[in-house]
């Protein structure tokens, strides 16, 4: 019963939600709305569970003096401080003078942007050390990458201004994006969509049970 009931619930709700996609009648759409709202509430609870789990895992790591445990103190401390001020200030957190907004603007925002900005430096280093053209395929990849990279920025057209319009880097870059890239991407999308449909069906039919956890 412990496993059968969740499987039964998944199958019934899964089939019902598929039905709601094709049947707009109130008898189907009203319960489907209710289930959608339930999903939103469950996701919101997921954040609470996630937060509690982060604290549990990190406090455990600090207690056992695991590798890099001082960083865990920073993480857990930051979470608790942000949570404290968020709860204390409530909706007023968006006021420019609030502590939560200060944390958001002065800590979260620059740190988040820094993570992305670092990519430029590491890409330069990786391009120099790791992007080796050893095969024809790697050569094609490198040629496409160079054309798209230079064609996407104004300098690309400046460099090739002497060429006829269709041969300039910008135009060639457009062609690569619109045809070879698009064809490959579409094939990947169709393949992934079929995979998702197959997995969905396996879950609804109770063949795929890994989401229940615990193992067989």
């Amino acid at each position: 019963m412990k496993r059968e009931f969740p499987l039964f619930l998944t199958a019934v709700i899964g089939l019902f939600m598929i039905l709601s996609f094709f049947v707009p009648h109130q008898a189907v759409s009203v319960p489907a709305d209710f289930l959608q709202q339930c999903a939103v509430i469950v996701v919101a609870f997921g954040y609470v569970l996630g937060g509690a789990n982060v604290l549990r895992v990190n406090f455990d790591g600090i207690y056992k003096r695991q590798a890099d445990w001082p960083y865990k103190i920073v993480l857990a401390g930051s979470l608790l401080v942000t949570l404290f001020f968020g709860l204390k200030e409530g909706r007023a957190w968006q006021e420019t003078s609030s502590v939560s907004m200060w944390i958001y603007n002065q800590l979260y925002s620059p740190m988040s942007a820094t993570m992305f900005a670092l990519l430029a430096f590491f890409i330069a280093s990786a391009a120099f050390r790791a992007f080796r053209i050893r095969t024809v395929e790697a050569g094609l990849l490198a040629a496409a990458a160079l054309i798209v990279m230079l064609g996407r920025v104004p300098l690309g057209d400046v460099f090739t201004q002497w060429l006829p319009e269709p041969l300039r880097l910008g135009a060639v870059q457009d062609w690569i994006m619109n045809f070879p890239q698009n064809a490959a991407k579409r094939a990947i999308l169709i393949g992934a969509a079929m995979g998702v449909m197959a997995t969905g069906l396996r879950v609804i039919l109770g063949i795929e049970r890994s989401y229940l956890g615990g193992g067989e």
Binding site: Q94, S109, P154
Partner: protein
């Protein structure tokens, strides 16, 4: 220069050169000429085609990580819509994004106030804030916008707002403008809203995710696409604005050229070494 010296080059030199190439043009812009590509022109044309005074849904799905690429295009799109006297409903499905989106809206509204065109929260625009649930929220909005967002970002009741008088569900909007940094974002809006509720949509996204959305552009599911800072700069050019994306394109140009040179240099060293061994 000795090629083996290049091979052993300390990567901190690469970091320093990259830093200077990015910093230099930001301090002293070069002013490279910008030309709008077809996807950007389509994005611009899609907003132009919206009747003046319409109510538009704008989904800002990003957080501070995407700020340099996505905030400039968000601001330009907001200005474009406000210039057309459109009313804008803004949502955010990224937990870390509501603060940034709220600030971006405030900055654009302040510009209009300074110009003597005050925009009223709840009448000309409303930021509905963040809602957890990703695709479930998108589908829920299809059953009613106030149903999914009973309160706005500041906790005001949305049902009583003047802007919501004409709004029921997705059928109330002629266009969805999505600014996306990843998941949930453009792909999910196309799959859950464009396909299901037939709401025309356009997208502005980070450069890294733009190739993923090209099939949607070619199929007509997306009516326009801005890819990264380059797309934002092209949009600014089409709007005759000189925003931060246009200023950033000089730096990005030099950074791209430097990365291209790094790839070439690395391989030249490799080929030279192999040639030496064979000889």
């Amino acid at each position: 220069m000795n090629l083996s010296a290049i091979e052993k080059l300390d990567r901190r030199w690469l970091f320093a050169i990259m830093g200077l190439l990015v910093l230099g043009p930001l301090v002293r812009p070069i002013g490279l000429p910008l030309k709008a590509t077809e996807p950007s022109r389509k994005f611009h044309a899609a907003i132009e085609a919206v009747p003046d005074g319409s109510t538009i849904l704008m989904a800002c799905d990003f957080d501070p990580g995407g700020k340099p690429e996505l905030v400039p295009m968000t601001k330009t799109a907001l200005r474009h819509l406000f210039d057309k006297k459109c009313k804008v409903l803004i949502t955010c499905l990224w937990p870390g994004g509501s603060g940034l989106v709220s600030q971006t809206i405030s900055e654009v509204v302040a510009e209009y106030t300074a110009k003597g065109v005050p925009l009223v929260d709840g009448t000309d625009y409303v930021f509905l804030g963040y809602k957890a649930g990703n695709e479930a929220v998108m589908v829920l909005m299809g059953q009613g916008i106030t149903n999914a967002f009973p309160r706005d970002n500041r906790g005001h009741d949305t049902a009583t707002m003047p802007i919501m008088r004409q709004v029921r569900d997705y059928s109330s909007f002629p266009l969805l403008v999505n600014i996306s940094a990843g998941y949930p974002g453009t792909k999910e809006w196309v799959q859950q809203v464009n396909s299901r509720f037939h709401l025309p949509m356009i997208s502005g996204c980070t450069a890294v995710s733009a190739p993923e959305y090209y099939p949607y552009l070619q199929s007509g599911q997306l009516r326009g696409l801005l890819g990264g800072m380059a797309g934002a700069a092209e949009y600014e050019t089409l709007r005759s604005e000189k925003g931060s994306a246009t200023k950033g394109m000089d730096a990005q140009s030099l950074a791209h050229v430097f990365v291209a040179l790094c790839i070439l240099m690395g391989n030249v060293v490799q080929w030279t070494k192999q040639g030496g061994r064979r000889a």
